[in-house]
């Protein structure tokens, strides 16, 4: 084997409470298309940010062309021939293509010369671009071209692409692959981040698989099946639930052909989501983030309205009711983002308890706030859910992530919901808080409520759920009993093969 282009030796990076990367090592050869594969939170983003100079590793080393390589900032990485195309673009809509490209360059050539170069490079790689067009007028795929061409103008030796196809149409994906293959043939190495197994099989020559910050495997995608790669990604040590005593009661929540267009250009619209949730049941909804999870939560919390009969609570259509009316009827929700969505950062804990609790806990009287009851409710949450805080008059943002999450979950659980929907209930939360939250949700179901848990953490879902479904590209699979599932089956469902699993 020739001298590797980039060798990564034992990189580690820890964030408070999370070991994002743990002793990661692999090499990339010149001209190689190398896949970095893993679930959300596996540490892919942290790793490429270290290669691109956005994040400094705690320990470990890198060599580029055999020379020591440790960029302090992206401009250093770019100067040494490492470019990166982010999943979310950093382009100014009111400026044209050439102007946007100029902004990212250290010493930009004169305007006409640059425009000429943009035309040459973009045509040479099959990504035609008109330098004078406004970004605001371009499609998402064309915007990505701008980002790619911006990198290509600096003659990179290594191009990092972070989930490039998540925003593209199938035709655009084909064009992109042609370009990437051409670059590879010219000796440019590509580090390709994705969780779309079919794409990796079609495009990449080798793959490194990350799980919980560690390299768990390497493979040659062409010699694997989407199946086998999914298994490597999820890991063999996934604890399967033992059969749980579970006698489902009446249907509490029913989704019937729920459809909701996403307002976020990077979001996924929900299409024909149908499921039933029964009393005493915890339904885990897995799947990779950005496949409609946020939209599902908004459609259930009532922040986005849908047709009346798409969401039924105890048989009554409530799809057209807003959050307050749904809470009054017993459908509660806890969104993923703690600060700024589930809680107002600068408001006190007692006000944040009031925020979602005032209807059910009767914290108002003819419109006036019953301050005593409001504070009692907040104190109750703090003591019953072991929220560590000096007092309920402290601002929400002064709490640690885990403590605030316990407060947010506790706030909903203590209201005695009929159905509770939570999104990423333990994301970024330390182990003991996570365990407490999971137990609280299980207890809630044991008392006869129905709980819908949306999460990217398969271990968590397997630990908690009675039944399990996967949300992929806005579609949901048919929920199945969790204890009968195999890793193989989950892998299939996650790969977007919903048809097969739905009939299995």
């Amino acid at each position: 084997m020739s001298e590797p282009l980039l060798s990564i030796e034992g990189l580690s990076k820890a964030y408070p409470g999370v070991q994002a990367n743990d002793n990661v090592s692999f090499t990339i050869q010149p001209g190689e298309i190398h896949a970095l594969l893993g679930e959300n939170g596996a540490g892919k983003s942290t790793l490429v940010k270290m290669i691109y100079g956005l994040v400094r590793p705690d320990s470990g080393d890198m060599h580029l062309h055999g020379k020591h390589y440790m960029p302090h900032k992206p401009s250093e990485a770019r100067a040494l021939g490492v470019g990166m195309v982010f999943q979310h673009f950093s382009l100014f809509e009111a400026m044209n293509v050439a102007e946007n490209i100029t902004l990212g360059m250290e010493d930009a050539p004169p305007r006409l010369e640059l425009a000429q170069k943009i035309r040459e490079v973009s045509n040479a790689y099959g990504l035609p671009l008109d330098p004078d067009r406004l970004i605001g007028d371009l499609s998402v795929g064309e915007r990505q071209r701008v980002e790619i061409v911006r990198c290509l103008l600096q003659n990179p030796k290594l191009l990092i692409m972070d989930e490039p196809t998540s925003v593209l149409t199938p035709q655009e994906v084909d064009t992109l692959f042609t370009t990437l293959r051409k670059l590879s043939a010219e000796g440019v190495a590509i580090l390709y981040i994705s969780h779309k197994l079919d794409e990796i099989k079609a495009l990449c020559g080798s793959a490194t698989i990350l799980r919980m910050g560690k390299v768990v495997d390497t493979c040659i995608p062409a010699e694997e099946t989407a199946h086998s790669m999914a298994e490597m990604m999820i890991g063999g040590e996934l604890a399967m639930p033992s059969a749980r005593e579970f006698t489902p009661g009446e249907v509490l929540l029913e989704l019937d052909g729920l459809a909701l267009a996403s307002l976020d250009p990077f979001g996924t619209s929900l299409e024909n989501v149908s499921l039933q949730l029964r009393a005493g049941e915890v339904l885990g909804v897995g799947g990779v983030a950005g496949n409609g999870q946020d939209e599902l939560l908004l459609a259930l919390s009532g922040e986005r309205l849908v047709d009346k009969d798409m969401v039924k609570l105890k048989g009554v259509g409530i799809g057209s009711l807003g959050p307050t009316a749904r809470r009054a009827l017993g459908l509660l929700a806890a969104p993923e983002e703690r600060l700024g969505h589930a809680a107002a950062p600068d408001m006190s804990l007692s006000e944040n308890g009031f925020l979602s609790g005032w209807v059910r806990m009767k914290l108002t009287k003819s419109g006036f706030v019953r301050r005593g009851r409001r504070d009692d409710f907040a104190r109750d949450i703090v003591s019953r859910f072991d929220v560590r805080t000096p007092g309920i008059s402290n601002a929400a943002r002064s709490l640690s992530g885990g403590n605030l999450q316990k407060f947010v979950i506790g706030r909903e659980v203590l209201q005695g919901p009929t159905v509770l929907v939570v999104n990423q209930p333990t994301w970024g939360v330390d182990a003991s808080a996570a365990a407490a939250i999971r137990q609280a949700l299980r207890d809630l179901a044991a008392e006869g409520a129905a709980v819908l848990v949306i999460s990217q953490d398969l271990d968590e879902l397997m630990e908690m759920s009675d039944s399990f479904a996967v949300l992929a590209e806005g579609h949901i699979s048919k929920p199945q009993p969790a204890h009968g599932l195999s890793i193989e089956k989950i892998g299939l469902m996650m790969g977007g093969n919903l048809e097969e699993s739905a009939h299995a």
Binding site: P323, A325, H341, P345, M347, F368
Partner: protein, 360 residues
């Protein structure tokens, strides 16, 4: 090097000290400005902050102007502060003030010269309605088309000013006024004259209304669900949506309240100090009230203090013009400085200054 570090909890003492600090800084830099204009700065500052109360000749008259000037500022600023808490930026209170005066005045003129104590309340209701409707224009445009309420409400000030000019040379012109561009005098008829309750401080009925509104606004913002929803919308729009607050409703309510209060202030000005509609009727209370609202920390009681302080700079400013020949614009700059310094020192509420060696 000096660095700003965010505080986990906003500092309460700082919240209370910053307005005082801002006033002191304004005195200092305002003094420098006055010195540059060739005026003795100590004398000028004394004229603005001290003489309105204690000057042997002007004192008594100045005192009687204090609440006359503070009243409309407080009434408008309380309305604006409610919107500002929700992140709804009504910059057009001046226009709503004018439209209130025109609507209320038109009712008064239509009834002229009817007697009876019901005339003035009726005019007040009409004025509130006029200001409310004028504020509904930016509200609806924001709700329907997401138009920026700052620009729309501000532009409508100039429309209102021209509408006023058209009215006083047209339908509302005094038929016995020898063609002057002005309406009949409202203070010439008892039923359309705002009662003066305590002359030495200039406490007219409008000031009483302003104080009642201050208390009502405090109760609403601190004790009522609506006040909570307004604050929540301003603090965190997404959390507000999660809590079930409809943003469009908040926009309409907050703009509506501030418009109605500005309209009422316009009527009190018209039936009291101004006496009649002329093209010189608007004197900028609607804009100064923005400063008052922030100087008072968007808190109704803070606004009372800030309104009185700002009234003082108006009165003192007139004294400096009278006795020192200082240009009127200088006092406007002085008032603007106060807002500038308040916003500047405000940083210390949420940040603290720390001395740190630079780490490489």
């Amino acid at each position: 090097m000096l660095r700003l570090e965010p505080r986990l909890q906003p500092s309460r003492p700082m919240r209370l000290i910053t307005p005082v600090l801002a006033v002191l800084l304004t005195m200092l830099f305002g003094g420098l400005l006055f010195a540059a204009l060739g005026v003795d700065p100590v004398e000028a500052i004394k004229l603005i902050f001290w003489d309105p109360f204690f000057h042997p000749t002007y004192g008594a008259y100045s005192m009687s102007q204090l609440l006359v000037k503070a009243g409309p500022l407080i009434l408008i600023a309380v309305g604006l502060s409610i919107g500002f808490r929700a992140g709804v930026w009504n910059i057009g209170a001046e226009g709503q003030f004018i439209m209130g005066a025109i609507s209320g005045g038109a009712v008064g003129l239509a009834l002229y010269p009817a007697a009876g104590i019901w005339v003035l309340p009726l005019m007040t209701v009409a004025a509130a309605l006029g200001g409310f409707l004028w504020a509904m224009i930016p509200a609806l445009l924001k709700i329907k088309f997401n138009a920026n309420e700052i620009l729309v409400s501000l532009m409508l000030v100039y429309v209102a000013e021209n509408f006023l000019a058209a009215m006083v040379t047209g339908p509302l012109q005094n038929p016995q006024g020898f063609g002057f561009p002005e309406s009949r005098s409202f203070t010439g008829v008892d039923s359309t004259t705002l009662p003066m309750l305590y002359q030495p401080l200039g406490m007219h009925a409008g000031v009483v209304v302003a104080f009642i509104v201050v208390i009502a606004a405090y109760v609403m913002m601190e004790r009522h669900l609506l006040g909570f929803q307004i604050k929540l919308t301003g603090e965190s729009p997404r959390a507000a949506k999660f809590a079930g607050v409809k943003p469009a409703v908040i926009v309409a309510i907050t703009l509506g309240i501030s418009g109605a209060l500005a309209g009422m202030a316009g009527l009190f000005e018209l039936t009291g100090p101004a006496g009649k509609l002329t093209t010189n009727f608007p004197v900028g209370y609607g804009f100064t009230a923005i400063i008052v609202a922030f100087l008072g920390r968007l808190n109704p009681f803070g606004i009372v203090l800030a309104g009185i302080l700002m009234a003082l700079t108006y009165i003192g400013g007139e004294l400096t013009q009278l006795t020192l020949g200082m240009p009127a614009a200088a006092i406007s700059v002085f008032q603007g400085m106060m807002l500038f310094f308040l916003l500047a020192v405000d940083v210390f509420v949420n940040y603290r200054l720390v001395w740190k060696k630079e780490v490489k």
